[in-house]
Amino acid sequence: MANKLIELKGITKSFGDKTILDEMDLFMNENRFLTLLGPSGCGKTTTLRIIGGFEMPDSGKVLFEGRDITNTPPNGRPFNTVFQKYALFTHMNIEENIAFGLKIKNKPKSYIKDKVKYALKLVNLDGFEKRMPDSLSGGQQQRIAIARAIVNEPRVLLLDEPLGALDLKLRQDMQYELIRLKNELGITFIYVTHDQEEALTMSDTIVVMNKGYIQQIGTPEDIYNEPQNAFVADFIGDSNIINGIMLEDKLVEILGTKFQCVDEGFGNNTPVDVVVRPEDIVLTKPGKGIIDGRVVSAIFKGVHYEMEVKACGFEWLVHSTVLVEPGTEAGMWIDPFNIQIMNKPESEDEEIFIEE
């Protein structure tokens, strides 16, 4: 494993009597795109602000390359932040905005000029030096905010929901832009978002958070395919989460029907949560699948149809490119590999997905 660049140790933070983060441990490696993902109020932004130095943890330590920086102010950390609503200096033109940090560090004029030009090129806004922030679109303003941060050559770029205020198309374009930027700069990005698609698209590592606890850390593939608990499964993409009983290794009972699966080591007759992604359910002729049901509704979604199939007293969400008319009987078949078994949550704090 590569060197730990930033390490959080036992970070606890409360506002009033509300605990935002509870004894959080987390580390980040060099040159990674790490995303803190979770619903609002999960503590992801607070985590970022603690890393940036804008909030002090009540207890715990922030380490950078093994050095304790918990009490170092923002300007003493080799990080720069891109804020949610751009936070540009509206009374300065673009050049002055980008040059702000460099001027404070008393860099020579020619150096600043080159750097501003380079940064503008990097975010595809050459020639915008003399424009005022107000005259730019939201997407352009966000690029300027990124340029303003990266001219200072930070080791880590912190991004707090930077695409939140942009419309869908622009957001998708900016996602690719950010991946390109990260690869060109070769620095670590720590990105905060509540948008799971954004997280899956851009990240090397995703940290799923809820109510101040880390739910799962992993690659986008891990998080999507192997959610460790019902919260993660529900938050990332659509899923069917059903109560089940693990009868023995590789055999689970769901709604009274036995299903083959590939999971082992849960013990015998253990209550578990079972996750099946809607696209992993294959609709067949009645009797040809594992269980039979009746299609209740079907909505056209563009790439696929989203259908609800009532079977064994549960409404299964099914995605398929082939439409089965509502009211029709259908069989459902699931590949054992696509049945994901998860332990039931041990504490109250982990089981929150219903509240959303």
């Binding site: 720069n80 932040t81 702000f100």
Partner: protein, 275 residues
């Protein structure tokens, strides 16, 4: 038709404005350019350059500048502190500073009289503490004090409003880029609150230029401002409505010119001043 209907809503005020603003302004304009015989003359306009009138004018100008500066120096740091409090708390705190405005300003000025009189509260207090009395009554300092006290909220409110509107993350961004508190104040807070500062300066400077009641009450007849000159011209035993109108017009034009010059300096900042 709809337009006419909504115009009608403004009717009562338009009548009010015509009766009490437009017509009086026309009368002043007419009187300023005529003499008692009703003939055209420029004497009333040029009267402002006479020594007897120019001297109070300069006194008014210099005292207004001092008053404005005093209000600004008191308001800006206070507004900075107030803007840091959370929204709920600060509305109460701000109200405390606005509270004096709920009282008639004559009463407030009268209260200052009682404090500043030679045997007033101030000197009684100083006496108890064993200090020599200070004789502030009927001095320029007393008039400046009273005027600054009266107009202070007009400076505080717009600056405060401008400061609370600054996004906290803009300050954080400046910090993140390495700015010290002083740099943040100079490069971020001051420029971004400039529209508020301009409003404040305008709302304090302009009315204190024509101030005369406070000068009467706290300055005795020792502090003679252009406002007093105009008041005398209209009100004294040997009233000259034409001279008074001429001086008023000159003062008005002067204020407008100074505001225009001020605006020119402030180009590019939007200038949301109220005047």
């Amino acid at each position: 038709m709809k337009k006419l209907g909504s115009m009608l809503l403004a009717g009562p005020y338009i009548i009010w404005m015509v009766l009490f603003t437009i017509i009086p302004l026309c009368l002043i304009l007419y009187n300023a350019f005529t003499n008692t015989d009703g003939n055209f003359t420029l004497d009333n306009i040029t009267a402002i350059t006479d020594y007897v009138n120019a001297k109070p004018l300069f006194l008014s100008l210099s005292m207004s500048l001092v008053v404005t500066l005093t209000c600004f120096l008191l308001s800006f740091p206070l507004a900075l502190v107030l803007s840091k409090y959370s929204k709920n708390k600060n509305s109460i705190i701000v109200m405390v500073f606005i509270l004096p405005m709920w009282m008639n300003f004559m009463l407030r000025t009268l209260a200052w009289r009682l404090i500043l009189l030679n045997n007033g509260f101030l000197n009684k207090g100083l006496g108890i503490l064993g200090f020599d009395p200070v004789y502030l009554m009927n001095t320029k300092a007393a008039v400046i004090l009273g005027t600054a006290y009266d107009y202070f909220p007009f400076m505080l409110l717009p600056i405060y409003n401008a400061l609370v509107k600054i996004d906290k993350d803009v300050i954080n961004a400046a910090k993140d880029l390495g700015a010290t508190s002083f740099v943040i104040l100079k490069r971020i807070m001051l420029p971004l609150s400039l529209p508020g500062i301009i409003s404040g300066i305008t709302m304090v400077f302009v009315p204190s230029m024509s101030e005369f009641v406070i000068a009467d009450m706290l300055g005795g007849n020792k502090v003679y401002l252009i406002g007093n000159v105009i008041e005398q011209a209209f009100n004294s035993g040997y009233a000259d409505v034409h001279l008074g109108s001429g001086l008023s017009l000159s003062l008005m034009v002067l204020i407008i010119i100074s505001m225009v010059i001020y605006k020119l300096f402030d180009k590019g900042e939007g200038g949301h001043g109220i005047w």
